[in-house]
Amino acid sequence: MKSAVEIAKDVQSGATTASAELAKAYDAIRARNEELNVFLHLDVEGAEKIAADVDARVARGENVGPLAGVPIAIKDNLCQIGIPTTCSSKILDGWKPPYNATVIDRLVAAGAVPVGKTNLDEFAMGSSTENSAFGPTRNPLDPSRVPGGSSGGSAAAVAADMTPLSLGSDTGGSIRQPAALCGLVGMKPTYGLVSRYGLIAFASSLDQIGPFSKTVLDSAVLLETIAGYDPMDSTSLNEPAPSLSAHVNDGVAGKRIGLVKELYEGADESVVASVMAACEALKAAGATIVELSIPELQLGLSAYYLIAPAEASSNLARFDGVRFGLRVDADDVTAMMEATRTAGFGAEVKRRIMLGTYALSAGYFDAYYGQALKVRTLLINAFKKAYEQADLLIGATTPSVAFKFGEKTDNPMTMYLNDVFTIPTNLAGDPALSVPFGTGEENLPIGIQLLGPGRSEAQLFAAARALESADGR
């Protein structure tokens, strides 16, 4: 399959058309969507109009943009006008957003063609898509295994060659983990680089929208397209958007890369071996590897599983049967709200709302939520210290390759431990990406995680490209 950059070039030159590329995408989707459960909704008519518009602009001799005619899949927690947006929850049943997320407007302005909405763990809470109210997504590389989560549908869309690009959101690893499990490049940008306007909030101080793709260059081009200040999101960074794709081939010569013990210890043998092989490849490309230990990272999981549910319990209070989607009728308004929430939310969402409500409740606030916010400071300080000794950090994205359905659903802690390597960067607000490097059990892909200080996306892409090219891609 052609990369996004190649498609855009061919559409702009007239070698192909946006409409033809879109038709190919829908053929690929129809061939496997029933088996894999990737898309919850396809917007065929809307996408055909956008593609026809791209073709008309090309015909008029206009320069359409860096993603001219590139089909893209959208995680179903991003709002698109008039298209059902469910967060894979029954509570949003039938709701259609009256506005576009900023990222949708920016994609269309750059010539991209959104084809439909992809499955996720309900409200992005999970690591396998097994928490979707509409059934799990299957990993295209091995349908008996999970694609990861929460952005499992968006990862599967690219892995199954349905679309060359997709958007996900990452609160504790929800882009990087499925990217690793599906053999893709997935990036969680610096907090505030991409506007969250129109992303249905899970944990507002951690959520970031980011790209999935097969190649590092495609990832950089997509992030460049969606990044930049947006007055509609008061947490978006008010500074010029960085140039990323121009730096993809900058290399790693002279860079110090910190190999962090806490970011691979405890992972499967094949995963650890891939991390070591990646270090060797970076060394061969001119980087220096510095062995580091950041023991504070081990506190990340505990802090995250108090902070994220606390914010979620507040954010999800808006789903009360009044303004959106589902309402279960009852005699008075309080009973209606309780009946609606009880029927509309799934088990994991209820569990996290309960946990967050408890952590914020009188008598426990200081011991749990307050303490977690201080651990967040501790982590930020520890990362700062590490970045005095290294330009970037390296570790594993996940402890194992893609696991089987039902393997981690009995005990929530078992599933949460899957995010142990990805969570710390969200707490720090820093960027990190996963790039495929090496394989494990059953020839399944392994993801290498590269982490950097805030605004280091260009350096991260350059290091990821160095690994990609060492792998002969």
Partner: protein, 100 residues
């Protein structure tokens, strides 16, 4: 090991969160939430009294904008997506009743 929270705590939190739990869910959540809170014990034993809490990774505070009147979302478009709307407003079942 005794659970850090009781069945009564869980029932109380469910009321605060406006969720109705069955007896089975109550038992399961007491057990599962207890397990998660126990994992958080690695944090609670630390003395972090000299650290300030972080709510935003880059310490962003007080973002202001000019108070300019701009068009907002179309009212009917928003109300059309609500479960019930009347006379240009969201409609809900009765609010005033007997005191709880």
């Amino acid at each position: 090991m005794s659970s850090p929270l009781s069945r009564e705590d869980v029932a109380h939190v469910a009321r605060l969160a406006r969720l109705t739990l069955t007896e089975d869910e109550l038992a399961l959540f007491t057990d599962q939430l207890g397990g998660i809170l126990e994992h958080a014990n690695d944090m609670s034993s630390l003395d972090l009294s000299d650290l300030a809490p972080t709510a935003h990774p880059f310490g962003l505070i007080n973002v202001f904008r000019d108070d300019v009147v701009k068009p907002s979302l179309d009212r009917d478009g928003v109300l059309n997506e609500a479960p019930d709307a009347r006379e240009g407003r969201f409609a809900v079942p009765r609010i005033l009743g007997e005191a709880p």
